[in-house]
Amino acid sequence: MVSAKSSTPDEQLVEATLAGDDTAFAELTLRHKSRVFGVAARFAGNAAELEDICQDVFIQAYFKLRQYRRDSPFEHWLLRITTHKCYDYLRKRRRSGTLLSVDALLESGHEPSAPEHPVPHPDLERLHAALAQLSPKERLVITLLELEERSIQEIAEITGWSPANVKVRAFRARAALRKLMENQK
């Protein structure tokens, strides 16, 4: 049933979901899950957290589907939810004090942002360990800008900050990251 919908546009699947067809939402999930997982993996601390973030994203999308205005592609709307969820998780993790120190991360060989990464490169491990030390806002802006290659305007739209604010935060985040990397040496 899902495969028969593979050529249906997203907007029609949204309409079908709103009309009560859950298989249409399953098709939307199947179609966009890779993108959502890709972004969430940049922020998730482990595989369980990745699963939680992604489930939260799609559950929120399902229950707030009526709020989706058709003025932009469905994927953009979904990625906005994803980014907000990732930010919530970063804040939650910081509040609960589960943030590990750079040394602990390096010693354990744990790479926080790549749950299923097969052979983590030592330099990349250092980068991820340093990213994990940034504040949630700094980490969000630097991840979106440098790893997801989003423009300043896109980040401003996603976060609700002004473009000037995004630039300032990105500059500060980069400076903080530079300092952290320098201290690791």
């Binding site: 899902v2 595989a47 749950p115 990349l124």
Partner: protein, 100 residues
């Protein structure tokens, strides 16, 4: 190491991280099945609460009626008691009026 070198190193690391996207295929496996199961569970829980709320409506309506009846009875009794006091002590009403 100066700031410019560190910046160049950071840019190189970012490029490397972009190229090395985390492999999430294992986590993605059968994700929609798990998601739909969770959505159904949430909907069932929601519908149980909604059903329980509707079923409790007659109980709360009966409570409201009983409270209204009890309240009107108490008010009537209080008025009667007040009148008895004033009848038995005629000066009391004058004192009360003077106070106000």
């Amino acid at each position: 190491m100066n700031e410019r070198d560190l910046d160049a190193q950071l840019d190189a690391l970012f490029a490397q991280a972009r190229a090395n996207r985390p492999d999430t295929s294992a986590a993605e496996f059968a994700f929609e099945t798990r998601l739909l199961a969770r959505l159904r569970a949430r909907q069932e829980t929601g519908s149980i609460w909604a059903m329980t709320s509707w079923r409790l409506i007659p109980f709360f309506a009966a409570c409201a009626v009983a409270l209204t009846l009890w309240n009107s009875q108490v008010v009537t009794e209080a008025n009667e008691t007040e009148q008895v006091i004033y009848v038995e002590n005629p000066g009391l009403l004058d004192s009360w009026n003077n106070l106000n």
